[in-house]
């Protein structure tokens, strides 16, 4: 990819710049699409149509219109807020999830940076999110925001454990933390003759690992039934209460970027990343990007589906679920996968 860019762009910083903003472009376009999709999914689940007017065909321009509206809004900072922290928090939140995309292999021809500890890097950098949320909650100088931020800190720290343990159980199989290499190991087809050679089909315990990973990633990206940080019906808006305009928009963008990030990590670890599900059919760098994003979007769709179906857990039940069920299960599963690897 870098060589391809170098062939027609002036060398040096420009190539690096273009190369590095590709994930940003993907996130922005995806967010415009995903917010529209969320509205349509919500609408159809609730027996209505969702946006139908803006832009003509099924209201496709609704998110763009909303974005323009948000950019024009007044930038309100509460009088007694800590101005610097208040203004910084959304940027740190978004920077954290954007930075994580660098280690995602979008196709066989494009990965932001070939980091050897790719997964480790992603897990580490996304922890910054909880810092930014506590910043936002504290700086708002609002009791509701503070309650939301406290919940978030507890939730994110707790759910990182099962996420990491389930990721670790895949790493036992692959023996590498580099996501590009993880994907390459899943190339080829015909596991059992018809299934693609993806890790989800590797052993029954891998399927359990994926379910655990998905539940934990729902909690990490603060989606229903784990959307306690925002929980608009209890905490008004949680840490977002005092935010408006584009700063609020950045938090929203972060939430959607996180959904995509964790879905892409899930797709890479369990569903073959950029590999085609049909062996060598429709394979190659361009098709690879298509498959990767498609797999990610399917998982994002499942998250939306859950959001518009389920109620929300209470904060103590959330912790119970994590510490009493998910963490023990994921550790047991880790041991079982290790045994499976030893025997077969």
């Amino acid at each position: 990819m870098q060589q391809f860019l170098e062939s027609f762009l002036p060398a040096g910083p420009v190539v690096v710049f273009v190369f590095s903003i590709i994930p940003l472009m993907i996130i922005l376009i995806y967010a415009l699409f995903a917010i529209w999709l969320e509205r349509k999914v919500a609408g159809h689940i609730q027996d209505r149509l969702g946006p139908m007017q803006t832009g003509g065909w099924h209201g496709w321009a609704q998110t763009i219109a909303d974005l323009l509206k948000m950019i024009q809004k007044e930038d309100i900072v509460p009088a007694k807020a800590d101005r610097f922290l208040f203004k910084m928090a959304p940027f740190i939140a978004f920077a954290a999830s954007y930075a994580a995309f660098v280690a995602i292999p979008f196709s066989s021809g494009y990965i932001g940076s070939m980091i050897d500890v790719g997964v480790f890097y992603i897990v580490a950098i996304t922890s910054l999110l909880s810092v930014s949320i506590i910043m936002a909650g504290w700086a708002s100088n609002n009791k509701w925001s503070l309650l939301g931020a406290m919940r978030t800190a507890a939730q994110t720290v707790s759910y990182e454990v099962p996420t990491v343990v389930t990721i670790l159980s895949v790493i036992i199989v692959t023996g590498t933390l580099n996501l590009m290499e993880v994907t390459e190991m899943q190339t080829g087809n015909a596991f059992l003759g018809f299934l693609p050679n993806w890790f989800i089909f590797h052993s029954p315990f891998m399927m359990i690992a994926f379910v655990l990973f998905f539940i934990a990633s729902l909690a990490e990206s603060h989606r229903v039934p784990f959307d306690l940080p925002e929980s608009e019906s209890e905490l008004v808006g949680g840490y977002q209460t005092e935010y408006s305009g584009m700063r609020w928009g950045l938090f929203m963008l972060t939430e959607y970027a996180d959904m995509l990030l964790l879905s892409l990590v899930g797709a890479t670890l369990f569903f073959g990343g950029w590999n085609s599900p049909f062996g060598s059919f429709m394979d190659g760098p361009v098709w690879g990007a298509f498959w990767m994003l498609l797999k990610g979007m399917v998982l994002v769709f499942v998250m939306m589906w859950l959001r518009w179906t389920l109620p929300r857990l209470r904060v103590d039940q959330l912790m119970n679920l994590c510490w009493k069920y998910l963490i023990p299960l994921s550790f047991v599963n880790l041991v079982l996968i290790a045994l499976w690897e030893m025997i077969f």
Binding site: D47, L147, T309
Partner: protein, 393 residues
């Protein structure tokens, strides 16, 4: 900025406690409302929190006070009170009108014909379903389930369509008058209502599958905000909130007003299936099954309803009740709605006092919310199902 002194009980916080590591912890006072998405209007709860645990909850009311009782005393016609009655419990206006009309008819000793009685019962029970649908939907919304809310609204919409055909209004009807009705129901009223009953039965099952028996929903509502029957009776709680505590008290059965004696139906009480008797889930499920009982009443009333009869034949030319007073209570979707009316033999009411069920039910909130979490507060308020228009009047 002027310094406005807050009225009401003084909240004294416990002194700061040393947490052992040099840090001090103290209780926090937080205002829930009047602008809060889950207080069902403009209720303000003053919560004292220890972390997320409520140690004291004080409801502050009065943000929606519209002087209903004083307005009534200024009306030069008893029938002009009916639109004000509508605006008390604005999601169950028909039931409010029914109570007022019955009270006035008893005071003036007016007998209405069977057709009027049946139409009134049909309207009241349809309104009860509509009101319960709103209560259940918003309760789900408080717990975080958005979709059941809209499913409930689809069904409520069908009832409002029936009301609109009959009265021309969708929320505040001014339909049940003293001695009769504003006008007769349209010709297709019976078929519309029968069609609604037929289409609504499966929706109750759908609601149960989607929300009532959802594991997360049960976890959030069972064993939360337990209201023991003795406490409920002592506070004067009525309606589904009382029946959720296992007390079979329904004025339709126990007070024999209108023609409710002619129908077969059961009084639903909470049994504590998912937790303790009188928890939020019980109060919720009582409303679900009461809709089923209302459907039974509607079906029987549709069968028995006479096709002949002038709905305005008993309406007095001039409403001038004899001097005297009356207290009359009826069962609205929220409980016992009582009207205390004093007449001084003029055309203007001397006094119209309403005993609003939401107001009385709200008073039990501080007693059952101690020890709950902030998220439980939302569930408790939702399960008591208050309408602030009726609390403040």
């Amino acid at each position: 900025m002027t310094n406005v002194k807050e009225k009401g009980p003084e909240v004294t916080l416990s002194p700061p406690v040393d947490a052992g590591n040099g840090l001090k912890t103290q209780e926090m006072v937080i205002n829930m409302g009047p602008q809060h998405p889950s207080t069902h209007g403009v209720l303000r709860m003053e919560l004292t929190l220890n972390g997320e645990i409520v140690t004291r909850a004080i409801p502050h009311i009065g943000y929606l006070h519209r002087c209903f009782e004083k307005h009534s005393e200024a009306m030069n016609d008893y029938n002009k009170v009916v639109p004000y009655v509508d605006r008390m419990d604005y999601v169950a206006a028909m039931n409010n009108e029914l109570g007022y009309a019955i009270a006035m008819e008893r005071l003036m000793d007016i007998q209405v014909n069977d057709r009027v009685e049946y139409i009134r019962v049909l309207m009241a029970e349809l309104q009860r379903i509509a009101s319960h649908l709103l209560a259940l939907g918003t309760f789900g919304l408080d717990i975080g389930a958005f979709t059941p809310f809209l499913y409930c609204f689809i069904e409520r919409e069908k009832i409002l369509d029936i009301f609109e055909k009959a009265s021309g209004a969708r929320l505040l009807y001014n339909y049940i008058w003293i001695g009769g009705l504003m006008n007769d129901v349209p010709a297709d009223f019976k078929t519309d209502t029968a069609a609604f009953v037929k289409s609504f039965r499966p929706k109750i099952k759908e609601l149960n599958d989607l929300l009532s028996h959802n594991k997360i929903f049960i976890d959030r509502t069972a064993n939360v905000g337990v209201l023991p029957d003795k406490v409920a009776i002592n506070y004067g709680v009525s309606g589904p909130s009382l029946r959720g505590s296992g007390v079979a008290w329904d004025l339709r059965k126990d007070d024999h007003y209108s023609i409710y004696d002619r129908f077969e139906y059961d009084v639903i009480v909470g049994k504590g299936e998912m937790g303790t008797v009188g928890d939020c889930w019980d109060r919720y499920i009582v409303r679900v099954w009461e809709m089923e009982e209302s459907l039974k009443i509607i079906e029987q009333a549709l069968d028995q309803m006479p096709d002949e009869g002038d709905v305005q034949e008993a309406i007095p030319k001039k409403i001038r009740p004899p001097a005297g007073e009356i207290y009359c209570r009826t069962e609205t979707p929220r409980g016992e709605l009582g009207y205390y009316i004093i007449s001084d033999k003029s055309t203007t009411p001397f006094r119209v006092k309403a005993r609003a069920p939401s107001f009385v039910n709200l008073s039990v909130l501080p007693a059952i919310s101690v020890g709950a979490m902030v998220a439980d507060m939302v569930a408790i308020i939702g399960s008591i199902d208050i309408v602030l228009g009726e609390v403040d009047r």
